[in-house]
């Protein structure tokens, strides 16, 4: 490296003046065909809600494509943003409206099950933390996913799989993020 990296710092408590976008949660319109609402709460080690966090999601399109020069398979539909961003509210809750991503060829061979990469920023986090959201109705794909397979403990693995949102719209998913504690979400070193 000729240039040493710039270190990360926390977003602090006032990220809400700078980062939220009105269209951030809407990767697609909330009335788009096949739309999936994914919502959840961010919780700290005491089980308290985190009302000053920001969630960002990044994912493939339903056909498994990206629109990016570093995808050697070529570019897909650039109209689909693939990126979502939502601050948490006073109850620590976020919500993203998107489409189910396609499965992907894994770098070491095999297939990655449909997933969203997630960054979480918050006061108290000096660097972002990264997790993934997988889908509960893809048991075969999830069982073959190399990332899920790398996590031996089934309880830990389960923190990466969304659940049906009982109170939500049909097909809606819930994905809570526990920053710390007994059911701490799996976070990745990316």
């Amino acid at each position: 490296m000729t240039r040493p990296l710039t270190p990360s710092q926390t977003v602090g408590p006032f990220l809400a003046i700078g980062l939220p976008w009105p269209d951030g949660p809407y990767v697609v319109d909330d009335d788009a065909p096949e739309v999936i609402g994914i919502s959840g709460q961010v919780l700290d080690g005491a089980g308290e809600v985190v009302p000053d966090a920001l969630i960002e999601t990044w994912q493939a399109a339903p056909d498994g494509s990206f629109a990016h020069p570093d995808d050697p398979r070529g570019a897909g539909d650039a109209e689909f943003r693939r990126f979502g961003r939502c601050p948490t509210d006073a109850e620590g809750r976020y919500q993203i409206f998107t489409l189910r991503p396609g499965a992907l060829p894994a770098p070491g061979g095999g297939t990655e099950a449909p997933h969203l990469d997630v960054s979480i920023f918050a006061r108290g986090l000096l660097d972002r933390v990264v997790t993934r959201i997988y889908f509960p109705d893809e048991p075969a794909a999830n069982a073959a996913d190399p990332v899920l397979r790398s996590i031996d403990d089934p309880d830990r693995r389960a923190t990466l799989i969304a659940v049906a949102d009982q109170g939500g719209a049909p097909g809606a998913l819930r994905f809570d993020i526990r920053l710390q504690g007994g059911r701490e979400t799996v976070f990745f070193d990316v």
Partner: protein
């Protein structure tokens, strides 16, 4: 769901971004009290860099207007405080510019108060300053903001705790692996020594890379002081190999 098997990568190579070591602050930094209940305690799980990680949102001009880079000109009147120009380049660790990438900034006003309902510091708000800016880097990775030097402000981390003046910077780069949110500080700030956020970065030279440089060349006579600050994002493995070769 029927499992759709995508075509294999077929030996096509993806870029690889080496994991930074010893640069970023440890998540578990107890001197920063807000981290106590929020920093994960479990070891991070290594994530192989696949298609989702080596790609990322390429957000640019569609998210900004020219006015977004001037935080002093959007509210009908001049904000109070010391007008400054903050400019520099976004580079990767091989020194290559990162063009066409979105930068978002936010900051306190000259009195050390954020335009946020939760900020209860008894310092005045400024109706002519909201502290929010955006721009997109040019083809050389260069950015430029016009703003007001933010004030220091007290917080409750420890007795008589004050944050050094800083501007929050959010950067996307070109890949999910490159995403970075950080803070830019001002040279010679006497508050550095007591600030657990600044000092959460373990390496002294790394801390100094968060401090902008006063630059008389950027300074505009009779108008605004100038600061230079380059931001360096993770680069790809190929870059590192090239550099290693160059050092032999």
């Amino acid at each position: 769901m029927t499992t759709h098997v995508p075509p294999a990568l077929g030996g096509l190579a993806l870029p690889s971004y080496p994991r930074p070591r010893g640069v970023h602050p440890p998540l578990d930094s107890p001197e920063y009290r807000s981290s106590l209940l929020r920093a994960p305690k479990r070891q991070l799980v290594p994530l192989p860099q696949g298609l989702t990680e080596v790609t990322g949102p390429l957000l640019g001009e569609e998210r900004v207007t020219a006015a977004d880079a001037d935080l002093t000109g959007r509210h009908g009147g001049e904000p109070l405080g010391e007008r400054i120009i903050v400019t520099g380049r976004v580079l990767d660790d091989g020194g290559r510019p990162v063009p066409d990438t979105l930068i978002e900034i936010w900051q306190a006003n000259a009195s050390g108060r954020y335009a946020h309902r939760v900020d209860d510091h008894p310092a005045p708000l400024d109706a002519n300053f909201d502290g929010v800016g955006r721009c997109v880097t040019d083809s050389g990775g260069r950015y430029r903001f016009i703003t007001i030097k933010p004030g220091a402000y007290p917080w409750r981390n420890h007795v008589n705790a004050w944050r050094p003046a800083h501007i929050h910077f959010s950067l996307f780069g070109r890949a999910f692996t490159q995403r970075l949110i950080t803070q830019m500080y001002f040279p010679g700030d006497p508050l550095f020594a007591q600030d657990p956020i600044f000092n959460s970065v373990p390496d002294r030279s790394a801390r100094e890379r968060m401090v902008a440089r006063f630059d008389l060349e950027v300074t505009q006579p009779d108008w605004a002081l100038g600061y230079q600050w380059d931001i360096v994002l993770r680069g790809t493995e190929a870059t590192v190999f090239e550099q290693e070769e160059a050092h032999r």
